[in-house]
């Protein structure tokens, strides 16, 4: 053994004099309340957190690199795996960026279905957030109730797309296929029962004294700081900023829906919790409106060189068969240009920067994940809090590591 260097670790990381009175704690990456594989480097003075440094990258799979080697339509499948609690939102952001580059007009029915599915997905995503953030603080019961509701939504999504966690339902130019028969009844059945579930959550959690004392005044971030750190979505609205991309830069017809943008002024865990709880009711309202608007019509844009033809057409028309072959074998060319398309995902602004070079594969695809940015503000909220509250703060940010690490 080489004895020249007695303690190589000490040379790399010299001991900090502050550590005479403080200690460091590595929280994660297998900690159950870090929602995946997040590691926090905490510096503690007793139970107080004096410094928190998130360490990410454990789930990095090089998705942005992979996009450059896949055709545009193949990229949709990759997006499912980013924010795996909100795959339809990721699909939507990606396909809308490509549609913007191609200049495609999406038919009314497809837009309504997109809104409907995305809002259902938002409810499902918030259900996971609600269950797990309660679980983190020690309330196990709500978890079973929220996952029951989520299961119903996943079944609805499965009935339309065939996939539960990875639907890939939206395609460039429209949808994979039309909704199955009886779909609106399934959704109505779910919606009729959902207010009951919301009431259960309110009695279980919202009115719970322990829950309130664990969340009120914890992890405060001010309005100015929240904007400076780029927080978006419920985390920003919990600090009293009325910003919703569905209102600010409407897409897919959101400007025609009637819904409120809930905000809470305090910027603590409790505020972010209340914003999401109120959002559940708004999403439910939007789903109902979308159901009303569901009229028969085409679900794919009129662009035979981009959108796959129907099977029936392929049997009858020569050109449909040729287009199908060309799209599948060679892909379609997207004119050169660059776009940034933001949508309001369940966690905040999900932006896609897409640069095309004229070929069938993108030159660069970059995802601005809301979880990535929201997590970067964690030190601001966590420093000065107790170590047990760090768990509550992470829960209130609703992060998904699949999206952070990409």
């Amino acid at each position: 053994m080489n004895t020249a260097v007695e303690n190589p670790a000490e040379e790399v990381n010299p001991v900090d004099p502050a550590l005479e009175t403080e200690m460091t704690l590595s929280m994660g990456p297998q900690h159950p309340s870090t929602h995946g594989v997040l590691r926090l480097d905490l510096r503690l003075d007793g139970e107080l957190v004096t410094k928190a440094t998130p360490d990410i990258g454990y789930l990095h799979t090089g998705m942005e690199k992979l996009f450059e080697y896949k055709k545009y339509q193949q990229g949709i499948v990759i997006t499912d795996r980013m924010d795996y609690l909100n795959p339809l939102g990721n699909n939507l952001a990606y396909v809308m960026a490509a549609e913007k580059l191609l200049g495609l007009e999406i038919p009314e029915r497809a837009q309504v279905i997109r809104v409907l599915m995305c809002e259902l997905q938002r409810i499902a995503s918030h259900m996971v957030w609600l269950g797990t953030s309660c679980l983190d603080i020690g309330a196990m019961t709500p978890f079973w109730f929220t996952f029951k509701e989520r299961e119903k939504i996943l079944n609805i999504i499965e009935s339309a797309s065939g996939g539960r966690m990875t639907p890939s339902y939206f395609r460039i130019g429209g949808l994979m296929m039309d909704l199955p028969a009886g779909f609106d009844n399934r959704v109505r059945q779910f919606l009729d029962k959902f207010p009951e579930a919301l009431e259960t959550f309110d009695t279980l959690i919202t009115g719970n004294k322990i829950w309130q004392s664990r969340t009120k005044g914890i992890g405060v971030i001010s309005k100015e700081e929240a904007i400076d750190w780029g927080l978006t979505g419920p985390s920003l609205r919990g600090s009293g900023v009325e910003l919703d991309i569905r209102r600010a830069n409407p897409y897919s017809g959101y400007e025609t829906y009637d819904f409120e943008v809930p905000t809470e002024p305090d910027g603590d865990v409790w505020s972010r919790f209340k914003v999401r709880m109120r959002e559940l009711r708004e999403s439910q309202k939007i789903v109902r409106q979308a159901l009303e608007r569901l009229k028969p019509g085409p679900i794919k844009a009129d662009a035979p060189k981009v959108v796959l033809p129907d099977r029936d057409d392929m049997r009858k028309h020569m050109d449909a068969l040729i287009h199908h072959f060309l799209i599948v074998a060679e892909g379609f060319n997207v004119p050169p240009g660059e776009v940034y398309h933001p949508i309001e995902a369940s966690k905040g602004e999900l932006g896609v920067y897409m640069k095309a070079n004229g070929g069938p594969k993108p030159e660069r695809v970059h995802f601005r994940g809301p979880s990535f940015v929201n997590l970067s503000a964690l030190p601001v909220m966590a420093e000065g809090e107790m170590i047990a509250d760090v768990v509550a703060i992470i829960g209130s940010l609703d992060i998904v590591l699949g999206e952070i690490d990409r």
Partner: protein, 159 residues
């Protein structure tokens, strides 16, 4: 549709003609090419005078080893007050991929710049904590560059 955005470009030009080297208006979005020396001043001016209080996104792009300038850094500015979006773009050469950090303007730039450094090797001068963020600290090379193979080099290669 983009008239409003052109007002901001004009304001930038009036403030200092050197800040705007080119403007592209395409697909409903306006891209302003800013020389790299001016990016921090231009960002601060847009934040203070024109309410672009949020940096929605910052990302780098590699145009390929044969291009010159090879790299670009995109700043997607957003305003939580008037909801407009503007893209600033800085072009960087392969030999000297260095640009001043904008962490002094928006704190959120911190992780975005670390990610861009990690994957593309673009240096941000003055960044408080420029370390790799997604890849391991001993990773060799910059994975998102076009000349980096998809399946990687040893010891991380999948071949």
């Amino acid at each position: 549709m983009t008239e409003k955005l052109h007002q901001f470009v004009e304001a930038l030009r009036n403030q200092s003609p050197d800040w705007v080297s080119d403007v592209i208006d395409a697909l409903g979005e306006v891209t302003v090419f800013v020389p790299r020396e001016a990016i921090v001043d231009a960002c601060r001016f847009l934040r203070d005078e024109h309410k672009f209080d949020m940096l929605a996104d910052l990302c780098g792009c590699d145009r390929g080893p044969e291009e010159d300038p090879r790299f670009e850094v995109n700043y997607h500015l957003f305003s939580t007050i008037h909801y407009n979006r503007l893209r600033l773009k800085v072009l960087l050469s392969e030999e000297d991929p260095v640009v001043q950090t904008v962490t002094s303007v928006w704190k959120t730039a911190n992780w975005h710049e670390r990610e861009t450094y990690d994957l593309l090797g673009i240096q941000f001068k003055g960044h408080p904590d420029l370390r790799r963020i997604l890849l391991p600290s001993d990773f060799d090379g910059f994975a998102l560059r076009k000349d980096y193979p998809l399946r990687g080099f040893e010891p991380y290669s999948l071949n």
